[in-house]
């Protein structure tokens, strides 16, 4: 006999999350993840002028705002058959990277680490120090990080006017030409952020972190003096064995991101024990267990539909269930680095597979990998050269924009008929990670990661469940848009 328990609201995630647990023999027999908020952006977008999508889509999400803009700009550029000039490409990289890095920082310090300050862990040797450092809103870390984050976000003031919700990211490039003195100010902001990360987060040079090549190397690095919050996390992860908690599907997907002159800084791909080809045409969205009117078989997003229904047998979420060739995939910083072939990321999933610790370390690793790339892109900007070209309007066209938000793969599919948006479908990172079951009964990635964890029908929810949920850095407002 199992007992059903509904838990929510999960906080310190972006948006609304509720999970139903079937508990039997002191364990989670089955988890059902629900996004309890529906807004209907895909319906709102229908009939609009294509360019107006750039005002609407960033407002899907306050934390992935630029990622949504960038995916839309790419889809519109694809539909118009244009490519931005070099300055536009670099500005887009810098803007997206600023958001993604700020999100990684926000996740680690504001959303994830405060759970170790909870009373659940009173008695662990690290608890007192962790509480002083990471306790939500009052700890020394959140109060040290917020000003550093705000200073770093001044990148956005110059690159994009403001954050969140900019219109600077256009299909043809950036609306914000930068002059040399502005580039200098951006450079100083980046250098200050580097100094913060090296002193506070890592206790090491970014290049030293980026060069870590294995779990063993990571542990050997932790043993060295140097301080920093990553070392604190690694000590806790070792003590609580977070390396063996929260395994998902071990099928990792990345659309790739940050366009370079040739290719991308992080290439797209699929990893399942070995590199595999990512076939975008094999994506289908299944709505068997979601509150949407059935439109026949699961659909590719280019042909997808969004018709909410108030009641439906067997449905338990507003989230659709995207599948890649019928398979559940995990997406996010860990997936991105595994696909890109970073040796530490690959080594962290050897053996057990994806874990809470691996996901968290991969995010911090990206801070160390992307910031130096930002310094390089900044140096490559060429004032006086063009920043933006105009996209010609087309009455009948379609396009796709694939990008990596901080929390994983984000895709926009647009179809234009008679000059208006005929269909606009969005598949967000957490739509993949927190999807409900599909028609074959396959649970989504988080649903799989939670199954088997200890839980009780009456006791307070174990902290481990919080760690697993937050390790995906979910963004629920993107999930169901």
């Amino acid at each position: 006999m199992s007992t059903r328990r509904i838990v929510g609201p999960f906080n310190r995630v972006e948006g609304d999350l509720e999970i139903t647990l079937d508990i039997a023999d002191g364990k989670i027999a089955a988890a059902y993840v629900n996004s309890p908020l529906y807004r209907g952006f895909e319906q709102i977008l229908q009939g609009k002028l294509p360019a107006d999508a750039l005002v609407l889509v960033p407002r899907i999400c306050g934390i992935c705002s630029v990622a949504q803009s960038a995916a839309s700009a790419l889809a519109l550029a694809d539909a118009a058959g244009i490519e931005p000039p070099q300055n536009g490409r670099l500005a887009a990289n810098l803007t997206l990277a600023t958001e993604n890095l700020a999100d990684h920082l926000t996740h680690f310090y504001l959303f994830f680490m405060p759970d170790f300050a909870r009373a659940d862990y009173a008695g662990r040797p690290w608890h007192a120090a962790t509480t002083e450092r990471f306790r939500a809103t009052v700890g020394s870390a959140p109060n040290q990080v917020l000003p550093a984050r705000a200073r770093f976000m001044q990148m956005m003031g110059l690159l994009a006017g403001k954050w969140p919700h900019t219109l600077a990211v256009q299909p043809g490039g950036s609306t914000r030409p930068l002059q040399s003195s502005e580039i200098f100010r951006l450079h100083r902001t980046l250098r200050e952020f580097r100094e913060f990360l090296e002193a506070v987060t890592f206790g090491a040079k970014l290049e030293e972190i980026a060069a870590l090549a294995s779990r063993a190397g990571l542990e050997a690095w932790r043993e060295k003096a140097g301080g920093g919050d990553l070392r604190t996390f690694l000590a806790i992860a070792g003590d609580l064995d977070l390396w063996h908690l929260g395994r998902g599907t071990d099928r990792f997907m990345s659309y790739g991101c940050y366009r370079e002159e040739n290719g991308r800084l992080f290439p797209p791909g699929l990893w399942h024990g070995a590199a595999a080809t990512l076939d975008i045409a094999a994506i289908r969205e299944d709505i068997t267990h979601a509150w949407y009117a059935a439109a026949g078989l699961p659909q590719h997003p280019a042909e997808g539909s969004t018709l909410p229904v108030a009641e439906k047998d067997g449905a338990y979420s507003w989230c659709k269930a995207p599948r890649l060739a019928g398979q559940v995939v995990e997406t996010g910083a860990l997936a991105r680095q595994v696909v890109a072939g970073h040796p530490l990321a690959r080594d962290m999933i050897e053996g057990y597979g994806a874990s809470v610790a691996a996901r968290v370390v991969a995010r911090l690793l990206e801070l160390a990998l992307v910031l130096p790339a930002m310094e390089r892109w900044l140096a490559e900007l060429a004032p006086g050269e063009p920043w933006c070209i105009t996209a010609p309007a087309a009455d009948e066209t379609s396009g796709v924009g694939l990008i990596e938000a901080a929390r994983g793969s984000l895709g926009h599919w647009i179809t234009v008929r008679r000059g208006r948006i005929h269909n606009y479908q969005i598949v967000a990172p957490t739509t993949w990670n927190f999807s409900p079951r599909d028609s074959a009964g396959q649970p989504g990635a988080l649903e799989q990661a939670l199954a088997g964890l200890p839980a009780s029908a009456t006791e307070p929810l174990p902290a481990a469940i919080h760690h697993v949920v937050r390790s995906f850095d979910p963004c629920m407002v993107c999930t169901v848009h």
């Binding site: 509904i6 929510g8 609201p9 999960f10 906080n11 310190r12 609304d16 509720e18 629900n34 309890p36 908020l37 529906y38 807004r39 319906q43 709102i44 009939g47 002028l49 107006d52 750039l54 609407l56 407002r59 899907i60 306050g62 934390i63 705002s65 504001l110 939500a136 809103t137 959140p142 109060n143 040290q144 917020l146 000003p147 705000a150 976000m153 001044q154 956005m156 003031g157 994009a160 006017g161 954050w163 969140p164 919700h165 219109l167 600077a168 256009q170 950036s174 609306t175 030409p177 002059q179 902001t189 909410p308 108030a310 004032p383 063009p386 920043w387 933006c388 307070p460 929810l461 407002v477």
Partner: protein, 330 residues
Amino acid sequence: MNLLWLQSGGCGGCTLSWLGSEHGSLFRELADEGIDLLWHPSVSEAGVDEARELIEQCADGRTAVDVLCIEGSLLRGPRGTGGFHRFGGGARPMIDWVRQIAARAQHVVAVGSCSSWGGITAAGMNPTDACGLQYDGEATGGLLGPDFRDRTGLPVINVAGCPPHPDWITETLAALAHGKLGAQHLDEYGRPRFYADQLVHHGCPRNEYYEFKASASRHSEQGCLMEQLGCKGTQAHADCNQRLWNGEGSCLRGGYACIRCTDPGFEEPGHPFTTTPKVAGIPLGLPADMPKAWFIALAALSKSATPARVRENAHSDHLLRAPSVKRTKR
């Protein structure tokens, strides 16, 4: 003064904007102003059962709420049930919780244009029947009704903006904490006048281009964005170009139009957002308080008086001609 923050049909962007406050740590800033965060979904420790228990206490009066902040539109659909947003962990729609807690709270603050008027979530066909706390677009009403007054007699305070500047939120809360926010400090839409009595146009760095109607014709050009690219800064109520964003930013400084995001109905302007609607070549949205005939006359005059430097720079993405250097007469 304690503060309960709830989110509904929005994007969370108001919170993210707020976290970007540039006066040191936002948490310390709040504590220093005497504001105690009872619960906020993005930053508080309490989750799941503890959070639900706290919200229930706020709803039934066991915990007194001084300020209720609502971020995101209120979703009345489908068919008036509120089912498009249930508060996680239970069956009750969010609009029920909001109605109940708003009735008990000392003050109710709508943070952002969604909870003020409906905002972006109410765009297009408004699939979720989204509205604001006390407005449904430009019409009074909304979830709480036109006659709603808090326990001190104030209407809902609308810190409108998409998103609002972090200081608009904190300054409003600090004024409440210090007992310095009365009806006389709110404009006719319930917005704090300290920012809503300004125009986005005030302090716009493109003002010389505006003076001469030297207009940008495409994105990334330096000219004024009003004539061609949809800018409503001369009508929009906000201090965005005086109190800058993320260091030295604003929409205009970012090179794109002000879309009047602090006003009700901004989400459906009736024209493409980044194209200025015109009749017979004359922009439809004239600057606030400017008689049309004078605008036309002045525009014609100033266009003919435009210095070559301003005209050429307006169509470039970088400075082509620097201002000439004037020598002091000996």
